[in-house]
Symmetry: C2
Subunit: 449 residues, 2 copies
């Protein structure tokens, strides 16, 4: 029985006076006097704590007064219902075993510590309330995503991490090598920036597939939205077109977020208290139809707001900057928005070329506070069109002949997208810096632990 | 509705004559004459195919006779129940749209092709029955493992892939670098060989955690059991000792395998037909208590069988070779076996040192056909013992001071293990070469696609 379970059965009125329990965890507060002491215990299942009451001789027997924050313990006792108190039940102590105490230089204290300071100790920040919330929400979103795909007949596939393909652009990939710098794989090998191309091959037999794994970008930008190592979810679906895949993205997000809010109420309420409006905004997204808008219409709209931007030259053909994306979703649409049919010159070679000869059947899903959360497209299904586009862009076709060949063997056109998982966790938790939503963040010039 | 769904509702007697359906997928066979033709369709949900019957004018209208194996199609029609036929139902064709045909050099043909040949075309081998089975089972095992952990209150955590720690031994790690070979992270960085140390930090607040991600080994050995890139599952549990974690490993394996056999009957039967005895052996494992045996007793037993081994010098202190591990589980125990309390000199520095001063509280779970499937241990909880062991082994303590420090801040002793996920897939599918149970295998000197 976890503390989360206790609160769940209490809400269903199924908790009984006198219920005997043994619990293991960490003491997070200790107050009272010589006659009565109140300890609170956290067991990691929730940010909710269990209050433990120690009285009389037990205080002395178990040295309760000296137990400091962070001590690991095993306690047993009986549940006492306290319907008129702030916490609906407590544990009346019967026995307590101290497993290990904390040294005096323990850096996690009751008082608030800054996120910057906590980033220096990624192996300990998980002991704070805030990081417990973030990681419980991260865990929930991850499982809800797996569950959603499994319930919708998707196959989870492992796209390779190490590839011979240096990704979509040059210079943004990390090289893999052996210590002798002699090329372990007898050729240049890279850490993958996407699992999509390989997923496309598997969609040609399993129809609906997804990846969920780490991807890498050798980006030198030190922003609050970029990591060198981050997790991506990339579904790829045969017989789906642009609109189908946008609907999938919307339904996946709504289902995962709705279930997370339902199952992690204590954590979401805590995050909402730090960032008022968080839950309101998420609920507004859940209750409304996703807005879909053409890129060309976005450009026209943004032209009316140039005074808000650093980059004021708004024109068809431009890549939207983060400031434009955020402004669009935060100020104009006031919620998540899917922008579709981008100019082909700012998008990847494999996207379906629309009849206008100018745009591709791509979409970006932009959300308030983050900007781009999802990017995807219908894939170019016409062998010759794809080959011509690769040649135009000087992409070597030889290493990707296998990818071209998919179009020659009973090809079922596919569409797909990628979700930056950490950006999703930021969106749902309201956390502003991506380094705070992954246990051990990796950025240029720095590896901690 | 998928073809898998159709067979599920048929088994429950819930399928109805005349049910109207539209299905998308690939044609896998085409036989008959001018008056009646039988196509079979696969949609990737199962290896079970749906038989489609085309008669009279429809054959001509939809050019049915010319449809070759591998063609992608959309078909619609009505279900006709055929209780006396080999397949319990078929689809009477109403309309058919050919999406794409296959070029003549399509390398997947009806006749059997060798696994070696298929390894050359990892982007297409997923279109064979065998690889559909393997990947459906892989998908099932992966989700069952996530589900098991979530139902048992484990937190899924992302241990970092890129680390500054070069693992347990030297020279077996892959280096990460930028194109200029100038160290993107301003220090040597490696691809992680384990997520365990980081998981231990998270077990200190969430109590039960697990990782499920790719790990890397720069092994030059070209065996059928090794990959340079493979997936590992690593649970770590606070307040657990050696016996608790062995029980967890056993229960996790049995639950995941039992549910997979139940949910993927067609695929498991097909694999059993290729490898008779597969299901019998798995069921024997499911029905029996796991054998636990001391390393020192294993050594005594193996001494009686030296004529079977290449390495005949069996003595206390030796590392068991794969031949010994396999012989123990296949010939002596005749099933999975957990070997415990290994000599400390052949095991990692972080394992709990037993009172005998010779062994550590480690276990390896060995299974027939594979050898080592799982390795784990109780972790050394005593700061000084751990530090002394690191010094003895000349492991630099500075980069791992954070790991030592976990013991100073309310440490709850933990135990954990790692499952090589591909080896688990090999065990359940009966596939002998690890390169055939991962979509795009990576081994020394070779990257395909």
């Amino acid at each position: 029985m976890t503390i989360k379970d206790l609160f769940t059965i209490q809400k269903k009125n199924e908790i009984t006076e006198g219920l005997k329990l043994e619990l293991k965890g960490w003491i997070v507060s200790n107050r009272g006097n010589e006659k009565i002491r109140f300890l609170t215990l956290n067991d990691g299942s929730s940010i909710s704590n269990l209050q433990i009451v120690a009285k009389g001789k037990d205080i002395e027997n178990y040295s309760v007064s000296n137990i400091s924050l962070g001590t690991s313990v095993i306690v047993s006792g009986n549940i006492h219902l306290t319907p008129s108190a702030q916490q609906p039940f407590e544990l009346v102590l019967e026995s307590l075993t101290i497993i290990n105490t904390v040294d005096e230089d323990f850096p996690i204290q009751k008082k608030e510590t800054s996120l910057e300071f906590l980033r220096e100790i990624p192996h300990l920040r998980n002991k704070t309330n805030l990081f417990k919330c973030i990681m419980l929400i991260r865990n929930s979103l991850s499982f809800e995503i797996h569950k959603y795909f499994q319930e919708h007949n998707f196959l989870y596939m492992a796209s390779p991490i190490i590839t011979s393909n240096d990704g979509e652009g040059a210079g943004e990939t990390l090289l893999v090598d052996d210590e002798s710098k002699d090329y372990f794989f007898k050729q240049k090998a890279f850490l993958g920036v996407t699992g999509q191309l390989h997923a496309e091959a598997y969609a040609q037999s399993f129809k609906k597939v997804y990846t969920f794994g780490p991807t890498f970008r050798a980006e030198n930008s030190h922003t609050s939205r970029h990591l060198a190592e981050f997790w991506m979810i990339e579904p790829e679906v045969a017989f789906y077109k642009l609109k189908d895949i946008i609907f999938l993205a919307d339904d996946l997000l709504k289902t995962s977020i709705r279930n997370t809010i339902k199952n992690f109420g204590a954590e979401m309420n805590y995050l909402d208290s730090l960032n008022p409006g968080l839950l309101d905004n998420l609920n507004k997204f859940l209750d409304n139809t996703l807005t879909i808008i053409e890129y060309k219409d976005v450009v026209e709209k943004l032209k009316n707001y140039t005074e808000h931007f650093i980059e004021k030259d708004i024109h068809f053909g431009m890549d939207l900057a983060s400031e434009h994306e955020k402004f669009l979703s935060e100020q104009i649409i006031k919620g998540p928005v899917a922008v579709i049919n981008y100019p082909k010159d700012i998008k990847a070679f494999y996207m379906y070329q629309n009849d206008d000869n100018k745009t591709v059947a791509a979409f970006d899903l932009l959300v308030p506070g983050i900007g781009e959360l999802i990017g995807g497209s219908q894939r170019e299904e016409r062998y010759q069109k794809l080959l011509d586009r690769m040649n135009e862009l000087h992409i070597p076709t030889n290493p990707l002949q296998w990818y071209l060949d998919l179009r020659r063997f009973g090809y079922a056109p596919t569409s797909g997208f990628g979700i930056g998982f950490e950006r999703l966790v930021m969106y749902v938790t309201g956390i502003a810096n991506i380094r705070d939503v992954i246990p051990f963040p990796r950025v240029a010039g720095q590896i901690k632990m």
